[in-house]
Symmetry: C2
């Protein structure tokens, strides 16, 4: 047994910095990342909280050039379809956005949720089976923060058809696709989201999102 | 413009400590938490990453004794139904578990996702509308870590019927219930999940969850 650590104000200040400088990165440098980085980060991710201790996350590291190209092509198709929904100035702006770093990011992986895992014996999942997916997201977010503390950026790609990702990566059909991720050194760093810098959207204050009961 | 911070090995070590000591807490002390704590933590949460910068999180702080009691009763009902699914030794063990701190936690709130928010103009949500829920989970996990750095514990309650929570808290029916949360000082601290200490389940190594493609 070791004593629980005391986190001091200096640590909390740096943690707030980490939250503030953690961005969704779409512009990566092509420099390689040190050997073992992704496994180390995935290991941290697997220590995330999970419903009923079910650890429902399933990670797939993607290195094979053919599979990476297939994901890139799928993104291109889905993004073209997404663009078609917009009109006028909004469509013009959408077309200028860089929404994924699939061509450059040195490390890539996908995350899935296994709702039906026996691990955890179903605890906490009867009224809300979707808690499995939420557990996977806490694992991804853990990795995201740890990566940023290493100077690495993560980009979450959701403009993909989940069923086609399952096919491309040849994983069990019971796995629910959560997201595809690009990881590498970012070209630049900022506290302002790229979508805000591009005038797509702006952040609203917390008070807009809180009700009192 | 300020320069991006450099996070050093000492910070990364403390961040790993934070991940390791962040637990899902069900046993709270009744001490009050300093005024303003929850608003400060929710403010940090609202800086989390979100799909298309949509900030789809909706938080409801719950202070009214009647609503708290209704959530507690709902949990009791849902937990009784959950227990009925188990048999034998597993049922006996389930019945011994303390799965929520609803009676003691000084601060309580719920989180919802608004899939149909206009904010973000739908970016990133066409093929995966569930990305809205995942954004809410990154906000919750941000709050969870910040709370732990303050010495506070968070407990995520998922053994609730989502439709009935929407009614009890009187929120728009378009809001998707993500979870109900208890916040306060934990009775004890540990790096081992309570469900592992209670012999309900044990954590598996990361290698069990990683495929290579």
């Amino acid at each position: 047994m070791v004593d629980a650590p005391e986190f001091d104000e200096e640590f909390r200040r740096r943690l707030r910095d980490l939250f503030a400088w953690r961005r969704d990165v779409r512009r990566f440098r092509r420099d390689p990342v040190p050997e073992g980085t992704l496994d180390r980060l995935l290991s941290l991710a697997c220590g995330a909280p999970s419903v009923g201790l079910s650890q429902p996350w399933r990670f797939v590291t993607v290195d094979e050039p053919g599979r990476r190209a297939a994901v890139r092509d799928l993104f291109t198709d889905c993004n073209r379809a997404a663009l078609a929904v917009y009109a006028g100035e909004r469509a013009r702006l959408y077309a200028t956005l860089k929404l994924a770093g699939l061509g450059e990011a040195p490390l890539q992986f996908a995350a899935f949720a296994e709702r039906d895992t026996a691990q955890g014996h179903g605890l906490g999942r009867q009224t809300m089976p979707e808690a499995a997916e939420y557990s996977v997201v806490t694992a991804i977010h853990t990795l995201w923060l740890a990566a940023r503390a290493d100077g690495l950026g993560l980009g979450w790609v959701s403009i993909l058809d989940p069923a086609r990702v399952v096919d491309i990566l040849d994983v069990p059909r019971s796995w629910l696709f959560i997201g595809y991720f690009c990881l590498g050194y970012p070209q630049s760093e900022d506290t302002v989201p790229e979508l805000e810098r591009a005038d797509w959207e702006r952040r609203r204050p917390a008070a807009d999102f809180i009700l009192r009961r």
